[in-house]
């Protein structure tokens, strides 16, 4: 399957968000892909509020099943969340569980006036009632496939597909 050019999608996504950015708006990226993407959008949109990043490891709903993520990064919200218009950014939207965790974490910093969701790829397969406000592109992917955003030197953002079916399940 042909994947869209990630850099083109970033430009489209920024264009869609731009009309909705005001003085109280702030971008928050979810580690790791969402944080890269948010950093790029932050530059493109020329936003005044500093960029925030979230690592949702402490808010995951599968801690009791799979434990703590091996590499937790500190969350960094360098502005007051109270009353803020927050645009939450992730690279790929799938089940919606990451977004639920991110919203729970944001509320522990304060009560935002609004949270909106921007994603580069909406791949379908939702398990929670989560709906993005800004989307780069919608791609219907079967369960066994994963789509990943990487940041490659000289090429910028690149999308790639992984099929875990290639691995032998013991």
């Amino acid at each position: 399957m042909d994947l869209p050019n990630a850099e083109t999608l970033v430009a489209h996504l920024a264009d869609r968000i731009a009309p909705h950015v005001g003085a109280e708006s702030a971008l928050v990226g979810i580690h790791t892909g969402g944080a890269w993407l948010a950093q790029r959008l932050h530059q493109r949109l020329g936003m005044a509020t500093p960029l925030g990043t979230l690592d949702i490891s402490f808010y995951r709903d599968d801690f009791s099943r799979i434990g703590l993520h091996p590499q937790v990064k500190p969350s960094d919200i360098p502005f007051a969340v109270e009353g803020r218009d927050i645009i939450l950014v992730d690279d790929v939207l799938y089940t919606g569980r990451t977004i639920r965790a991110a919203m729970n974490e944001l509320f522990d910093y304060g009560r935002p006036s609004a949270i909106r969701l921007a994603v580069l790829i909406d791949r379908g397969g939702r398990e929670l009632p989560v709906c993005p406000d800004f989307v780069g592109e919608r791609i219907a992917l079967p369960r066994h496939q994963n789509i990943q955003l990487t940041l490659e030197a000289g090429h910028g953002f690149v999308l790639s597909l992984q099929s875990p079916s290639a691995q032998v399940d013991a």
Binding site: Y59, F63, V81, D108
Partner: protein, 318 residues
Amino acid sequence: MRNNPQINQHGELNHLLTLEGLPREILLHILDTAASFVGVAEREVKKVPLLRGKAIFNLFFEPSTRTRTTFEIAAKRLSADVLNLNIGASSQSKGETVLDTVDNLSAMHADMFIVRHAQSGAAHLIAQHVAPHIHVINAGDGRHAHPTQGLLDMYTIRHYKPDFGGLRVAIVGDLMHSRVARSEIHALNILGTREVRVIAPKTLIPSGVEGLGVQVYHNMAAGLAGVDVVIMLRLQHERMKGAILPSAQEYFKYYGLTPEKLAFCSHDAIVMHPGPMNRGVEIDSSVADGAQSVILPQVTFGIAVRMAVMSILASSGS
């Protein structure tokens, strides 16, 4: 095969009993995870939901306010339910054995025990006794170990002086009775510290301490020369029996950390103390409250480090 009782068959940390023999990558994983917990305390809501629904028992067979409180805060910031038991005052005086106490609490569906006991090896005994899903943290056993204190001291050192390979660290004071010093020495060695020194009068240094890979000094001027980190130990009056020291005043004269003695160290050396401090016995107030002191940051970091240990233990076996 399990040759290290705190590591499970998957190589995960299942209990934290001692820093001796702890793999370097596990130690670094705890410190890295703690870095993410530091920010939690600075937020509007100082809590994360990670251990929601878990029951953590503070099992203190020996009195302690500070350590018990920091474990309690750490557990509460992870959303666990915490129960404090000062056993010295209840069951034990009625004749119940330690393991009977543990069995009773396990029957109340405990998930984790934080154990402080005057006997070396108490936490180890409990860890070998409990069901596999229950985790044990040693919060100080006799003269043996106090691993979370050792870890929070490593976190503090790394925060100010990240390169252990270039560091000279001096531990000063009552090494004879100090489980804190033992845990620190093991951790400093695991992290590849350039030089670890211990400074104390002969009567406060256990025999064979050189075997732990430290250099022994009995004089502050020589021992502190060029040091980057000074860790002062508490003079443990309550553990001292017989005439080990002439007087607290005399101890302060030779081994108390004053501005004059601090000047022997590297100019940007940091001063640490595990608390509680005896001002005017092992440390002068002007040093304890001075610009080089990181004693209060140690307390703040200690909570994040204990949160990291609890969440990593709770992750194991899942």
